[in-house]
């Protein structure tokens, strides 16, 4: 597709910056910035939880999403659900039956792509906490702007005028789709193209994960 034009172009992802073990009291924690969007995630667990929410098959994942200020809302529950369902596939929960793993996300700055930043940050925090995982995952957001171009990791002003915004999460093993959610309207071909692009971009995030782990794993 798009062969007629045959224009290759460099697509830039936003600069990523992260610090693991940002908080001393949590079992694992990370602060991650993707461009101007920043989030902190702490992971605690596996730990003892009250018997009503225990599961004998796997550990119970509790996700708490905290906004910066203001009151709770249905939209927060939705974000929690996205993150919980995604983590659930990545964590080997059956290794820790009758326990709970608590993931707390605190948003700090939102300049577009907050939820994908939270997802990536959660993945790093899980890595940091040492919870056994089946795979890691990477979230990439893209948008279809007014002129119809697909833009990876759009900045905030572009999001407001975009026709559609899509976020995809890929796993590291099969490189297949774990989670997706979209806003706005778009054609099927756009969807497929966006899927392919984000797929390619997810490699960058995976290599970022690798770099950070290899940086400290050398020392340990």
């Amino acid at each position: 597709m798009g062969m007629e034009k045959n224009v290759s172009k460099d697509f830039k992802l936003k600069p990523m910056k992260c610090e693991l073990n940002f908080l001393s009291k949590s079992d694992g924690s990370t602060i991650l910035s993707q461009g101007d969007t920043v989030a902190v995630v702490s992971v605690n667990g596996p730990l003892d939880i009250k018997s009503t929410s225990q599961s004998i098959e796997k550990s119970t994942l509790e996700v708490l999403y905290c906004t910066k200020g203001g009151k709770p809302s249905v939209a927060d529950r939705y974000k929690e659900n996205v993150i919980r369902q995604t983590c659930e596939t990545a964590i080997l929960g059956s290794l820790y039956p009758r326990t709970g793993i608590t993931v707390t996300i605190q948003e700090l700055e939102d300049y577009g792509g907050l939820l994908s930043c939270c997802l990536n940050c959660t993945c790093l925090a899980l890595l940091n906490s040492g919870v056994s995982m089946r795979c890691v995952y990477a979230a990439v957001t893209c948008a279809v702007d007014e002129s119809g171009d697909i833009v990876l990791e759009p900045p905030k002003h572009q999001l407001q005028t975009a026709r559609a915004v899509m976020t995809f999460v890929y796993d590291s093993r099969e490189k297949s789709l774990v989670t997706s959610f979209t806003e706005g309207m778009f054609s099927e071909d756009t969807y497929k193209e966006a899927l392919a692009r984000c797929h390619a971009a997810s490699d960058l995030i995976f290599s970022f994960y690798r770099d950070i782990v290899s940086k400290y794993a050398n020392v340990i």
Binding site: S8, L64, D149, S187, F208
Partner: protein
């Protein structure tokens, strides 16, 4: 909240080294941990870290109706939240005694001390006033939450700027930051809460860490109180006392309170000066249009941190509009290919339609009786 238990060894060790004039982290008795304040991109949001303790504060504002008894005053809300992020023993969405205690202390310190000019928050008497809301989130509980969150509250309030408004007749126009410069909040004075841990009724530790806090308020294994406690002193930069709060054991000697106040007076001046200085420097930074963002707190020297600036990927340019002609063509092909539907749509009862699978698969139980409706 689950209780955190300390072993007797830990307790007695800590008590012994304190009585011998040391502290666990090597500080002097009245030495505080490093205070660090960083701002977010918005006005009124900051992260304050005191050693390992980290607190996020965010001020937001909205226009509301004033309270009936105070029609010409704005409203200030303070809301403290301790999520499991602070420490594993806290549960999600549940208020603990600590949350309530902290909330009340901050309210006493900032609402009841009348440090904010609430009247300046009034827009239209009896109709519209600004309501400020301070959300304090504990990110990491490394002891001395009170002092840390109080500095965070103070800094965010002093840093906050609300949008400008103009009144024209009945309507009130709220200007965005781009249209008109926002207005800072007026603070009459800058109160700060400081915590002191009292050991054996005579030792005063400023800025206690988490373990020091828990040891000084807990009793020994025999149930004998060790004469320890936590003393909170709220004081502004003019060395005026705004708040005193003691929990733990009763004091034998009132001199210790006096000692604490004297030491708090110096410290409060120090803190307030720092807060003022840092806000001014932040302001000049902003005026030079340099970006300020929480991303700045991520250090790059740390072993466990990584920065990658150039993340590029080669992809073909793709435009939805270029594709439409082809898409349509494809869809036409699709339509030709599409096989006849497997389902029948039948209008059965009045107002009703059904999809029935043609081969009449699963069982279907009739439910509607709406036929008798609406003669």
């Amino acid at each position: 909240m689950k209780d955190v238990f300390l072993s007797n060894c830990e307790k007695s060790f800590l008590q012994r080294i304190v009585s011998e004039g040391h502290r666990l982290d090597g500080r002097n008795y009245n030495e505080s941990r490093r205070l660090n304040i960083s701002f977010g991109s918005e006005y009124g949001s900051c992260i304050v870290s005191l050693g390992e303790t980290k607190v996020l504060a965010q001020v937001s504002c909205e226009v509301t109706q004033p309270k009936q008894i105070r029609p010409n005053e704005g409203i200030l809300y303070i809301n403290v939240e301790i999520s499991p992020m602070a420490a594993p023993q806290f549960e999600a969405n549940r208020q603990t005694d600590l949350t309530v205690y902290l909330n009340r202390l901050l309210e006493k310190c900032y609402k009841d001390s009348k440090c904010i000019d609430l009247e300046s928050l009034c827009i239209v008497v009896e109709e519209k006033v600004w309501s400020l809301r301070v959300d304090v989130k504990i990110l990491n509980h490394g002891g001395n939450l009170i002092e840390c969150s109080s500095i965070a509250t103070l800094t965010s309030l002093a840093h906050f700027k609300r949008p400008d408004v103009t009144r024209s007749g009945d309507s009130v126009i709220i200007h965005t930051i781009a249209e008109k410069d926002p207005i800072p909040t007026v603070l009459y004075h800058y109160p700060v809460c400081m915590t002191f841990a009292i050991f054996n009724n005579d030792v005063l530790l400023s800025d206690p860490s988490f373990i020091e806090e828990s040891v000084c308020t807990s009793s020994t294994e025999e149930g004998i109180n060790t004469g320890g406690g936590l003393l909170v002193v709220g004081m502004n930069q003019y060395k005026e006392l705004c708040l005193l709060d003691l929990n733990g054991a009763a004091l034998y000697d009132s001199n210790i309170v006096h000692k604490a106040i004297v030491s708090a007076a110096d410290r409060s001046k120090e803190i307030v000066d720092l807060v003022k200085k840092i806000i001014i420097s932040d302001d000049t930074m902003r005026q030079k249009r340099s970006k300020i963002n929480f991303a700045d707190i991520i250090t790059s020297e740390h072993m466990l941190s990584l920065t990658q600036k150039e993340l590029t990927i080669q992809l073909k340019n793709y435009n939805v509009d270029d594709m439409t002609s082809k898409t349509e063509r494809m869809q036409v092909e699709d339509d030709v290919k599409s096989e006849p539907s497997k389902y029948d749509v039948v209008p059965s009862l009045p107002q009703t339609a059904e999809i029935v699978s043609k081969k009449g698969g699963s069982q279907w139980i009739e439910i509607s009786s709406d036929s008798e409706e609406d003669q």
